[in-house]
């Protein structure tokens, strides 16, 4: 049984089957395969991390998960059903359960609206309750994210970056979603407040039973917060498994290189001296390499890698990889 035809797991809140998303370039001459055949389930209540370099397709997957864009091929199922088969009305109410938060809180908040008005907006659009009820829900959401009540009357420019990101989170919470896609949500925040916001996400998950898809290019963040993590390269997953496994016993040469490239804030005695420095940069998704897409930079590439696309296989329980040679002994220690 290949992954593409697999039945969704019983605990899957989202199932992605052979997802493809293509874009036309601005001159309309070429097609970008932003996401090119991705399979995974997000399990209810977990934090599912997606890591990869810029342009690898993380945001595109995130947007497809919440139907901000439609797949070019393949399917995204919510709780086992295909939301695109719903009536328009049903679809509108259904999608409230699936929210997305982006990196830049400034882009998400209207500078001329008070904080309270911003948080009220999604409730108004969804036509929830009467105005007193909506205000109560909005204030409750602000409270949840740890903002004092008087912030409701302030404007975005009177808040710090971390506070604005809290407002954006509050806004997403008002509709009581089941799942939130968090796309680089701490990237724009200062180091000293990142921890606060990550702690907030953990608290909300515990209290509200939320599921997260946590997208980031920051290894330390993803391995801190997620139970499972997928590594993305040029529109495809190259590895997926429990965070512990992927971070400590990575199977794919790209994951190994990423872990090795990450600068670590450790004294010299604890830092590894030899690191794998990959040559070159990520090739264009308009015309990706044949066979294994990583082969142009892979230190282990063989002739077979040019000819054949590596199969997406479950090499260890729950630990998937796409590399012809990932099962060679000592492969990952080279």
């Amino acid at each position: 049984m290949t992954a593409a035809t697999a039945e969704p797991r019983r605990d899957a809140i989202v199932s992605v089957r052979d997802l493809q998303v293509r874009f036309q370039t601005s001159d309309r001459r070429a097609t970008v395969k932003a996401v090119d055949g991705v399979n995974f389930d997000v399990r209810r209540g977990e934090t599912f991390g997606i890591i990869g370099e810029s342009g690898s397709g993380k945001t595109t997957i995130g947007r497809a998960l919440v139907f901000l864009l439609n797949p070019s091929a393949g399917a995204v199922l919510h709780d086992g059903i295909d939301p695109t088969a719903l009536s328009r009305r049903q679809f509108q109410s259904h999608r409230r359960d699936y929210q997305i938060i982006f990196q830049d809180p400034n882009a998400a908040l209207n500078p001329r609206m008070t904080i309270l008005a911003s948080v009220l907006e999604p409730l108004q659009l969804a036509g929830v309750g009467n105005s007193a009820e909506r205000e109560r829900l909005a204030r409750e959401a602000l409270e949840r994210v740890g903002l004092p009540q008087e912030f409701g009357e302030r404007y975005p420019h009177q808040l710090s970056g971390g506070q604005k990101q809290r407002v954006v989170i509050a806004r997403a919470l008002t509709l009581k979603p089941k799942l939130i896609v968090c796309d680089e949500v701490v990237a724009a925040l200062d180091m000293s407040i990142r921890g606060d916001v990550l702690n907030l996400f953990a608290d909300l998950q515990r209290d509200l039973g939320l599921t997260y898809v946590f997208i980031t290019h920051d290894l330390a963040v993803v391995s801190h917060i997620s139970e499972r993590v997928a590594v993305m390269y040029l529109g495809q997953f190259v590895e997926l498994g429990p965070t512990e496994e992927v971070a400590e016993r990575p199977l794919h040469p790209y994951t190994i290189a990423l872990l090795s490239a990450e600068p670590r804030p450790l004294p010299s005695s604890m830092r590894q001296e030899s690191r794998i420095v990959l040559q070159g940069e990520v090739p264009s998704p308009i015309d990706p390499p044949s066979g294994c897409r990583f082969r142009t930079r892979c230190p282990h590439a063989q002739p077979l890698c040019t000819e054949r696309v590596p199969e997406w296989r479950e090499l260890k329980p729950d630990h998937w990889v796409a590399c012809h040679f990932a099962d060679r002994p000592n492969f990952s220690n080279n």
Partner: protein, 358 residues
């Protein structure tokens, strides 16, 4: 030096020997704004020895970029004044003539920025831009300038430079553009390279290449490096000494190993503790409460006071950057009694050993 640390940080040696290449004393920068005069940075003191690699770290807005720009006197239009001295090889850059400054800028001190695209001119080939820098500062002919440009492009790791030299900036990838910027900055053989977030816009695998290049170049050509970054990992991998800034001031100055293992300032310690690398997976991340005060509401006395868990009576007094022994400096009068945790302390060996093994 922390216990069990190899005492081979080169900066120690460098600092004891030759006189500093750069010596900044009491540097402060003011800007005109609609709300009046803003004191963006103040009382900045630090030295950089010849060939030394120093990281300047701190959160957004603490004054890192302004400090770098002020050394080259490249301050923005609403600049309203500069206090203090910037001694570079005996010349005070704070008071030298514009002509002297032009002779130093680009030749003896060079600077590279986060976004190489904005620093490169889109209408000229990269080869032309690098060669021009050389020709402005030295008396070389066109042919020699081109030959040296090719050599420099090769040195910074551009494959087949003879094919790339006539490319325009938009034809290059982000990593290649940053290499071109580095080539342009090094072509005159500067004694000091100021690099402001040179890898922040790059992917982690490309970042690793550029950091390796900077380290390698500084070692082989004895170019001192002032690396501005908010990423403590980048400093640890690249530099020998780390200067931490907070709210427009230098608050700590130590070798990287000392600062990471045994920070003396509560802010440095707090920053280190808040890094997810150093906390057990899925555990709570320690964080620093509150936020950096804005310039308009800067408190008197210790600027970190409102967020500091160790604040007591006495912290409302102005804090001097004081000598903490062994070449270290710290702006906190309580440093000797605090015994603060660093990157490894309290020794959660499981987490840190795990990080180290990967």
């Amino acid at each position: 030096m922390g216990e069990g640390q190899p005492a081979q940080r080169k900066s120690e040696v460098a600092r004891e020997g030759a006189r500093p290449l750069l010596s900044v004393r009491g540097l402060g920068i003011r800007f005109k704004t609609t709300q009046g005069i803003w004191q963006a940075t103040r009382r900045i003191d630090f030295d950089i020895a010849p060939g030394e690699r120093v990281g300047i770290v701190g959160e957004s807005g603490c004054g890192k970029t302004i400090t770098g720009l002020s050394i080259l006197r490249l301050l923005p239009g609403n600049f309203a004044g500069l206090d203090g001295k910037i001694l570079f090889d005996g010349v005070d850059l704070a008071s030298c003539s514009p002509r002297q400054m032009r002779a130093i800028r680009g030749k003896r001190i060079a600077m590279i920025f986060q976004e190489p695209m904005s620093a490169l001119d889109p209408v000229f080939t990269v080869g032309h831009q690098i060669a021009e820098t050389l020709r402005v500062h030295s008396n070389v002919g066109e042919e020699e300038a081109r030959a040296r440009t090719l050599e420099m492009l090769r040195r910074v790791g551009i494959a087949s430079p003879e094919r790339r030299i006539d490319d325009y900036p938009h034809q290059l990838s982000g990593g290649m553009r940053q290499r071109v910027m580095i080539a342009a900055s090094l072509i005159c053989g500067p004694q000091l390279l100021i690099a402001d977030e040179p890898t922040t816009a790059l992917d982690v695998t490309v970042q690793a290449q550029i950091l390796e290049l900077l380290r390698d170049i500084s070692e082989t050509s004895k170019t001192a490096l002032m690396l501005i970054t908010h990423d403590l990992g980048v400093v640890a991998e690249t530099c020998t000494r780390m200067i931490t800034m907070y709210a427009g001031e230098v608050i700590e100055d130590a070798t990287v190993d000392e600062a990471l293992v045994r920070p003396l300032h509560p802010y440095t310690s707090g920053l280190l503790r808040s890094l997810p690398h150093l906390s057990p997976r899925h555990g709570r991340l320690p964080s620093i409460p509150g936020r950096v005060p804005s310039i308009a509401e800067m408190p008197a006395g210790c600027r970190f006071r409102a967020r500091c868990a160790h604040a007591t009576k006495g912290c409302e007094a102005e804090q001097k950057l004081q000598d903490a022994g062994g070449g270290r400096k710290v702006r906190c009068w309580r440093f000797a009694e605090l015994n603060l945790p660093g990157a490894l302390h309290p020794p959660d060996t499981s987490a840190s050993a795990r990080v180290a093994r990967q």
